[in-house]
Symmetry: C2
Subunit: 182 residues, 2 copies
DNA sequence: TCCGTCATATATAGAGTTGATATATATCGA
DNA sequence: TCGATATATATCAACTCTATATATGACGGA
């Protein structure tokens, strides 16, 4: 799944801008399963236009820079829906937090506690964000995906809270020598 | 977190090869929170050697190609442990499966059921794999991370099984016209 | 026996992506 | 007034992935 596919997926649900695609993929309704940056979205939209999968028009705005609104073409829609029949690639998950926890024995308790608390707070923020998003969506599949994300996040958060003291107990009581020596 | 950091993390736990780093990051004990490919691992190891964070030696093997074994230097170890004190970046999660589910209404039930079953089977494989891995590890933090991964996967699997029929019901009873017309 | 596949092992080219930065304008709060 | 934030597009170097090439041995099936 590349950025072109993400753009087509979002455009399938209505015309929009590159700026908005990025926002939805990093903070909005798509944020919990995909992401894309400006550096890949703008070139992707240009290519999609070349290929005839999208069209664009420039819209002037008061008090804001004028924007370029993209719409998907019938060909683009067909191409996207057909691509949903392809074999699915595996999920990708990366977590610096879990890498960090793998080395708790080498780190001071104060730092470990701080990072775990930060993590729990981030989960809370994310759950709040999903709750807000759910109100904006009525299509059952859209709500289902958001619910699934929320369910997984709540579960991870709960497990972390339950295990918190056990993990902190694994950390060093004193500041790590390598760091303390600085 | 870049590939250089992943290499250092794995090398912190013992000398190894580029091939093994890739294997552990895609199928082994690191697979549930990071990943790296050959195209990034080999250049990363070369750079780390240039920078003095690792050293290497070539080891001839019978019946197998000779391999290049990397070891972390004291400087490399210090650099890695210090980097664990940095602010943590957010987790990254991407799922073609969830993108697929977001468009169930446009897809035939047979396909949706097939993909959900494939997904559940993959969860089962992954859970089995983590169980095997857990036996190989004794360090509490390593086991904790594997357990956390297993817990999250079991939860997602269970939720999917519970919701399966509800999702399938959202899909189209007939083959999608756009596809059927091909 | 021969052939394909799989596992070990390193390496690279080309395509794709990220992260940082530049540009421009307007609003909001300190 | 100053900095931060939001809207909006765009680009570039650095990084990463996917696919492929190379080489060898083992294993199983036709």
């Amino acid at each position: 799944m590349n950025v072109k596919t993400i753009c087509l997926a979002i455009l399938t649900q209505g015309e929009t801008t590159g700026y908005d695609i990025r926002k939805r993929s990093t903070e909005g309704d798509y944020a919990y399963f995909m992401e894309a940056s400006f550096g890949s979205i703008y070139p992707a939209l240009s290519k999609l236009e070349e290929e005839g999968y999208v069209t664009s028009r420039t819209v002037a705005q008061e008090g804001k820079p004028s924007k370029r609104v993209y719409q998907i073409t019938p060909t683009g829609r067909e191409f996207f829906i057909n691509s949903l029949y392809d074999e699915l690639n595996d999920d990708m998950f990366r977590s610096e937090f879990l890498l960090f926890l793998r080395f708790v024995e080498d780190l001071p308790r104060s730092l470990v506690e701080k990072r775990i608390n930060e993590r729990i707070a981030k989960c809370d923020d994310a759950i709040e964000n999903v709750k807000k998003l759910e109100k904006e969506f009525t299509k059952p599949s859209e709500r289902w995906v958001l619910n699934f994300g929320q369910h997984c996040m709540r579960n991870a958060r709960q497990y972390l809270i339950e295990q918190k003291h056990e993990i902190i107990a694994l950390a060093q009581e004193e500041e790590h020598p390598a760091r303390a020596a600085e």
